[in-house]
């Protein structure tokens, strides 16, 4: 996608806040912290979170294509049930397009939910599965609120209510 080059950006001190790395670091990353950060800074892959379990790859594709050409999407799956569990990875051909989504799509809605994006060091087989004890994402183990788009109450609360 053509990006207009601002004549100001070279001399203006612009803080690119939206495309900075967040504090989150994947604990399962194979390699040193520095290597991980280098990868994140050059990455063309985004982690996308807070999706509804019902949101499809097609919907994500349309939303994230608005930042540029998407290469592939890897849906996050429940490790036991193999059904979507509320996150995915979106990989772009170009870094600049992924940056567009960090700037302009992060924090906006899809299926009425505010999606969160973050840099990812690049998809590795196995990363598509939830890491929670019961198969989904860890956050859905401990959640105490009722969230219709993410299977109701958190898993632990659900177990207690049985």
């Amino acid at each position: 996608m053509d990006v207009w080059k601002s004549p100001f950006s070279e001399t203006r001190q612009v803080q690119h806040k939206s495309t900075l790395l967040s504090n989150y670091r994947d604990q399962h990353f194979k390699g040193s912290r520095t290597q991980q950060e280098e990868k994140l800074k050059a990455s063309t892959t985004l982690y996308v979170g807070n999706l509804s379990f019902y949101t499809t790859e097609e919907q994500i594709w349309e939303l994230f294509s608005r930042g540029g050409d998407v290469k592939r999407i890897i849906m996050g799956l429940d490790k036991h049930k193999r059904t979507p569990c509320g996150f995915c990875f979106v990989e772009y051909y170009d870094r600049a397009d992924a940056e567009n989504c960090m700037r302009y799509v992060n924090g906006t809605r899809l299926d009425d939910r505010i999606v969160r994006t973050d840099w990812d060091a690049g998809f590795v087989e196995g990363r598509q599965f939830g890491r929670g004890r019961s198969g989904g994402q860890v956050r859905d183990e401990y959640r105490t609120d009722f969230d219709d788009g993410r299977g109701g109450y958190g898993k632990i609360v659900q177990d207690k209510m049985k």
């Binding site: 996608m1 053509d2 990006v3 207009w4 601002s6 004549p7 100001f8 070279e10 001399t11 203006r12 001190q13 612009v14 803080q15 690119h16 806040k17 939206s18 495309t19 499809t56 790859e57 097609e58 919907q59 594709w61 349309e62 939303l63 608005r66 930042g67 540029g68 050409d69 592939r72 999407i73 890897i74 849906m75 051909y93 567009n100 989504c101 700037r103 302009y104 799509v105 906006t108 809605r109 899809l110 299926d111 009425d112």
Partner: protein, 792 residues
């Protein structure tokens, strides 16, 4: 440990002179950084008044100028381009500095003028414009003499008298001069009235002679009702005339120097050195002409305590410019951008209306918006978040207006309107009073409003799901709703097995399904496909077997129908089969046709699959272009996804060429660098590209460039054929040529020219002599002429 390193270690151990000088150096850097910070900060929000901050900073700089002159002047020159939003703050600062230290002011001018000459030579016109504006405002601060600014302007206006130059060149110089007049007009008028008037007369006579052929191609609306869509220069001229009639007085520009009148008035002024515009050359690309986007006038604003300045008033110009600049400067941070826009504290002005008009002006800018569309979409969301009780009302009003003016709206802009509104509604639970638009149900499906609603619902579907679209629309919308996106598989096996056996195609598909499910190899599939008899006439040899292709493509893609990922995996696994089946252009046409027959109800799937297969080189960009103009696709010819697909193919091609160009340049640089190293007697890395490497890569680039040219020629050729046929047919049957279909098709042709104008202009000669010749119908030729006028 290297010798060098050991040496450094020695240094740090002993407290000799070198170490002290190092410490001194770091100290210098500290002070330089501190000065830079102070300069960049002045004019930002602060508890002290701007005047006292400026005074304090000027005193600091005056004190440090003896030791840090070079650095200070460099920073001040950099802020000219970097902080145009604080331009008058910095001109005042330079003014104060000049009043205290005349030499320093002179050196600043010298360096800024040198910078200006450099950027003009490099054709960086946006930067040049801000530098010239800065120099002009320095007249207000008693740094530059009014007469020397006028002689600079005289040099600029002389460009209008040059022969054989593109109009964009003289336009730029004239626009730049006009652009500064809201700031400096009054001083020029007071000090040099006669010379200034002469300048204005020259400008007026130039404006009267300009060609406006480009205008139509750049207008968002072809109709001038209710608002005239003017060329930017004409509009600016009217605004400047308005300023002149007010004795060059306006009340909106922040002018901090006025508070320092007494400190500045006795300062000596500098004479600008003679600046002559660099002469025109073939590669100089001047900014494209712009049409001013107007959406609202004062009658649209219900709040009677505010008044929207008229479109030819100088106030409209000043506010518009500040808003545009705010968007450009904050384009990377939508939240900051929204907050900054809303901070404008101009009283009695309907700010929300002006902001929305500016955002749409940029979003609809032709041929391309200044930045990615999604920036504007998300910015509008932020504005609604910050002004939840007022902004959505303005937005609804704007949307209704845009809708009511769809009939004369440029197709590309209709597309952008759909892109924005679908995204916006998706963020607001698709809440909209759809029944207000039920008029479209009775319209010709090709009518712009009907097309708009259909495409909007399609995009809403892509962002949600079919059931939701059905539920959000009134029942009577059923006729215009997108179909449920399901595959239309040709080889569904009937329940009756005997019946299946009597239909050989079904048998092929069934057998293929079984093999694929049993994890067969691509080679197995190829062997199997060879068994399928070719339905084409067997007296000649054929490059492809349409039945085999159809059975394979339909069966495989139907198996992968569950999601994009499933389809991609299927295509990747049988990549070899696709390669083989699509080894001829006819084969690729068949693949596309079979895909379309399966997925014609799922346009997004078509778009995504075709894109993927182009990217993985299973389909050539020219095959895709030919397919779009094929008989089978006529049904969808005006649908938006088709044009998404075509432009994706063009973008893919352009990207490939650009990348190869970069690689060739890099390789050459590397080789040259190595040669220089050898000359200097230095060691060279092992991976120095050879002459052969470069030649091989250049050959690749040549091929890509001819593919690229071929693609555009195919597209133009097919357009000309199709449009000419339409015209001929209408004439034979005595029917109207200007049908709705014809308008869509012409606009799509215009879009190819405009959106890729920098590539297409390379083929100007070929197009002019071989395709868009004088025997072509004027409807078609006009589009070409408008395109040529763009850089003309």
């Amino acid at each position: 440990m290297s010798r060098r390193r050991a040496h450094e270690d020695d240094d740090s151990d002993s407290d000799d002179g070198r170490s002290r000088s190092k410490r001194h150096r770091t100290e210098n850097i500290d002070i330089e950084e501190r000065l830079e910070k102070l300069i960049l900060k002045v004019g930002d929000k602060s508890s002290a008044s701007l005047e006292s901050n400026l005074e304090g900073l000027a005193a600091v700089l005056e004190h440090d100028i003896a030791n840090y002159k070079t650095k200070i002047i460099r920073i001040l020159c950099d802020v000219v381009i970097g902080y145009p939003d604080k331009m008058t703050v910095y001109t005042t600062l330079v003014g104060l500095l000049n009043a205290k230290n005349y030499t320093c002011g002179g050196e600043f001018i010298e360096i800024l003028v040198r910078d200006l000459k450099d950027v003009l030579k490099a054709c960086e016109f946006e930067k040049a414009r801000y530098m010239i504006l800065f120099l002009a405002d320095l007249v207000n601060c008693h740094v530059v003499s009014a007469s020397s600014l006028l002689s600079l302007y005289d040099n600029f206006i002389e460009v209008c008298l040059e022969d054989n130059i593109p109009q964009t060149r003289s336009d730029w110089y004239v626009h730049t001069v006009l652009y500064t007049l809201p700031w400096v007009g009054k001083e020029l008028f007071l000090n040099k009235e006669n010379e200034f008037n002469k300048l204005l007369v020259s400008i007026q006579s130039y404006l009267g002679k300009r060609s406006k052929t480009h205008l139509h191609a750049l207008k968002v609306w072809s109709s001038d009702s209710p608002h005239v869509q003017e060329d930017r220069l004409d509009c600016m001229w009217a605004q400047i005339k308005h300023l002149q009639s007010n004795a060059w007085t306006e009340r909106l520009i922040r002018r901090p120097y006025l508070a320092f009148e007494s400190a500045l008035q006795d300062a000596l002024q500098h004479t600008l050195p003679n600046i002559i515009p660099p002469s025109h050359h073939e590669d100089a690309l001047y900014p494209l002409p712009v049409v001013v986007f107007r959406m609202f006038d004062y009658t649209d604003v219900p709040d009677e305590t505010t008044v929207l300045p008229g479109s030819h008033s100088i106030e409209r110009f000043i506010i518009d410019e500040q808003l545009h600049l705010t968007l450009l400067l904050n384009q990377y941070e939508r939240k900051d951008c929204a907050a900054t826009l809303l901070m404008f504290k101009e009283e009695k002005i309907p700010l929300n209306y002006m902001i929305i008009e500016t955002v749409f002006a940029q979003m609809f800018r032709l041929p391309n918006p200044p930045t990615v569309e999604i920036f504007y979409h998300s910015l509008i969301l932020e504005l609604c978040k910050l002004q939840p009780s007022t902004m959505p009302i303005v937005l609804v009003q704007a949307t209704e207006m845009l809708f009511s003016r769809l009939d004369s709206m440029n197709t590309v802009c209709i597309e952008r309107f759909v892109n924005w509104l679908s995204y916006h509604l998706s963020n607001f639970q698709f809440k909209w009073t759809w029944e207000d638009w039920s008029e479209v149900l009775k319209m010709d499906p090709m009518a712009p409003k009907a097309m708009f609603v259909r495409e909007l619902l399609t995009k809403c579907l892509w962002l949600s799901y079919h059931k939701r679209i059905v539920e959000m629309c009134p029942d009577e919308f059923a006729s215009i709703l997108p179909a449920e996106p399901r595959p239309k598989f040709r080889y569904h096996a009937p329940d009756d097995e005997i019946e299946t056996e009597t239909m050989p195609e079904l048998m092929y598909s069934l057998r293929l399904t079984k093999s694929i499910k049993a994890k067969c190899t691509p080679e197995d599939v190829l062997d199997f496909l060879k068994e399928i008899p070719n339905p084409l006439d067997d007296s000649v040899e054929h490059t492809h077997n349409p039945l085999a292709i159809d059975v394979f493509v339909q069966t495989l893609l139907n198996l992968g129908a569950k999601s994009f990922s499933h389809s991609f995996a299927a295509i990747a696994k049988f990549n070899k089969v696709f390669k083989e089946l699509g080894s001829s252009d006819e084969g690729q046409q068949c693949i596309l046709k079979s895909m379309y027959d399966l997925w014609s109800d799922h346009q997004q799937m078509m778009l995504v699959l075709v894109n993927k297969m182009m990217k993985t080189n299973l389909l050539s960009v020219s095959a895709v272009a030919n397919w779009i103009f094929s008989e089978e696709m006529m049904r969808d010819f005006t649908r938006f996804y088709v044009w998404d697909t075509l432009h994706a193919s063009i973008r893919k091609m352009n990207k490939q060429v650009n990348q190869l160009q970069l690689e060739v340049e890099e390789m050459k640089d590397k080789k040259e660098e190595a040669a220089n190293k050898v000359n200097d007697g230095l060691d060279v890395d092992e991976n120095v590209p050879t002459e052969d490497d470069i030649e091989a890569l250049e050959e690749k680039l040549d091929t890509a460039q001819s593919d690229q040219k071929n693609l555009f020629l195919i597209i133009f050729q097919r357009f000309i054929m199709m449009l000419s046929n339409h015209i001929a047919n209408s004439e034979t049957h005595g029917q109207e040529v200007n049908t709705l279909w014809f308008k869509w098709a012409l606009d799509r042709l215009r879009q190819v020219f405009l959106q890729h104008h920098s590539v297409v202009r390379q083929y100007n000669n070929t197009l002019e002599t071989l395709m868009f010749t004088s025997d072509i119908d004027f409807h078609i030729l006009t589009v070409f002429n408008e395109f040529q006028a763009l850089r003309g």
